[in-house]
């Protein structure tokens, strides 16, 4: 059984402008010691889905199931969830300053976390554990820095302190929400290295939420791509990068600079803008931006289904046949043939659509 098993999660927020449908049917699972990367752009619902599971979205309407070691997190009270967070499940946020209290010493904050969750620990033990943890995450001179305030730490050190807090209670699952987005490349490399090392060492399951396909390629075991609140593709890391099936996944990979290899050439963006979550397009939410859209795409929502003939773990929510998998020319011919488009007509339409949406 998986450590965390989420089934058919729906999250929506009532607002004055209408109902914001942030997550519309999401299922995934994570095993101990594994890394699941949830990838998506702003508004894809990647952050909201995990926050909803952990009870961090008080205003939301939530339905579905989220079994953590057999217990449905969505049925727990706030108090039960609070006890679970930090102890069994830890969260690392993008901006460490939102989670570190500016007026308390870092060591005190870690020790306090330990004391709150563990009645048997003494203050002295908690402090020693805090120093040990700070050393573990690579803070130099932890015995001295334990008495620093958050503002005395650099951005990378604060993120390390956050990770130390996340590890304080030996969690089974860590949810890392864009943990390195605010950091510089060299520091990002340090932090990713650290997270990976600690995860292997302690056999922790990791859900990594990010928009950065470079980071995902580095650390993920399994990748889940989200668009407008729904999962569009799920596969192991190599399959996602080399044999994507969904046009959105393919579009993301192709819009990266360096993907085409041609320097100073034109990139291949996905035309148009992400949809409003108040008025989600009918059928497949991606169809207004999809260059292979067929009549069925606007009429019916494709299920996230196994891509026939491919690896058993490869699932995609697209009406294109399974032969349309991959980035090569052969696959492109199949896609164009099925959607009834000429190769040249595509670029014209792309520019027109890009402008109309603008």
């Amino acid at each position: 059984m998986s450590l965390l098993d989420v089934r058919d999660l729906h999250v929506s927020f009532p607002t004055t402008d209408g109902l914001v449908q942030a997550v519309r049917g999401l299922s995934f699972s994570v095993d101990a010691g594994h890394t699941l990367a949830i990838v998506g752009e702003s508004g894809s619902g990647k952050t909201v889905s995990t926050q909803a599971i952990l009870g961090l979205t008080p205003d939301a309407d939530i339905s579905g199931r989220a079994l953590f070691e057999g217990v449905d997190l969505l049925q727990l009270t706030q108090e039960q969830l609070r006890r679970l967070r930090g102890a069994e499940i830890s969260v690392i946020f993008q901006d460490p300053l939102t989670s570190l209290h500016p007026l308390y010493k870092i060591g005190w904050q870690i020790a306090e976390l330990i004391l709150v969750h563990d009645d048997s620990a003494t203050k002295k033990q908690a402090r020693e554990r805090a120093i040990e943890l700070l050393g573990l995450v690579g803070i130099p001179h932890p015995a001295k820095r334990v008495d620093d305030y958050p503002h005395q730490f650099s951005g990378g050190m604060r993120q390390r302190a956050m990770i130390a807090m996340a590890l304080a209670l030996n969690p089974k699952l860590i949810v890392a929400d864009e943990p390195t987005t605010a950091l510089d490349a060299t520091v990002q490399a340090q932090i990713l290295d650290l997270i990976g090392r600690l995860q292997r060492e302690f056999d922790i399951a990791l859900i990594l939420i990010t928009h950065d396909l470079g980071v995902v390629a580095d650390v993920a075991d399994e990748v889940l791509v989200m668009y407008a609140g729904r999962p569009v593709e799920r596969a192991d890391r190599r399959t996602i990068y080399y044999r994507p099936h969904h046009p959105y996944t393919k579009g993301l990979l192709e819009s990266l600079p360096g993907s085409t290899g041609a320097r100073k050439g034109r990139l291949t963006p996905i035309p148009g803008q992400p949809p409003s979550l108040i008025a989600v397009p009918s059928g497949c939410a991606f169809h207004p931006r999809c260059r292979y859209a067929m009549p069925v795409c606007s009429a019916e929502q494709p299920p996230l289904a196994h891509v026939t003939g491919d690896l058993p773990d490869h699932a995609s929510a697209c009406w294109l046949p399974h032969e349309a998998v991959g980035l090569g020319e052969h696959a492109e011919e199949i896609r164009l043939e099925i959607s009834g488009r000429e190769p040249d007509a595509v670029s014209d339409q792309e520019s027109r659509r890009g402008r109309a949406a603008g």
Partner: protein, 321 residues
Amino acid sequence: MPLVEMTDLVKHFPVNEGTLLKRTVGQVHAVDGVSLTLRQGETLGLVGETGCGKSTLARCLAGLHPVTSGRIVFAGRDITNLSRKAMRPVRREVQMIFQDPYGSLNPRRRVGSIIADPLVIHKIPGDRRKAVQDLMERVGLNPEHYNRFPAEFSGGQRQRIGVARALALRPKLIICDEPVSALDVSIQAQILNLLKDLQDEFGLTYLFIAHDLQVVRHVSDRIAVMYLGKIAELAPDLYEHPLHPYTNALLSATAVADPDARRRRIILRGDVPSPIAPPSGCRFHPRCPKARELCAQQEPRLEGNSHQFSCHFPVRPGGSL
């Protein structure tokens, strides 16, 4: 003749203490002796980590910060610390695109009036409404959205508004300060393509600042790497043959969207030192895996012609750290 020539540019910010009576207790060495040229029609990429001074350098060039010392020559004319009035004609030639598509547009003003700003400020005669709508059309916005407010546009569309505003006066140079780093990947490619098209159409010169090395590599003719207020390395094919240990570390740290890419990260020790008290000698020496005694004592000069670098012990092609 190069379009821009910066010579030994220095920008220090005083660090003040005290509430009623301020006194200066130190200097932030944001830019500390930078010489750079921009050729007509090229894109010069400028990369570096937070606090390396790349944004400050851009703002000095845009006339937003007075420089502490050094010289900026634009189109053959010395524009260092010009008076506001003397700077006005230069401002028509040098425009800026900002990082934050939310912060760079006034939320209480209509898009049409934001894009018309340069025309109004520089008193350009003619049908402004038509000019603005042409600009909107050119950058891929619907001209009918003239009367909307910035909040009604998505991040990518807002960045197009910023581009239209920068384009309004048909400048020679556009300084792009992290123009796509706040955007989603699919939108980022749209904006990069737009910038490329505009460069071809109007013969623009770009100073392109970013921390994403893949983006910079894609757009730039030449790339300069900054570290703690100084140029560490500058070359057209920087990624193929990095000589400076810092460039090597930076490149190796970049996450590439390819699971099978060879990954041998050079994990640097510690953090970037404070620009208030930069290290002696080579500023990179406390974190450099190749540092020797000389590096702490003597500051390396920026040497070389087309491929410039400032390091006593550069990484030779084919060699490693």
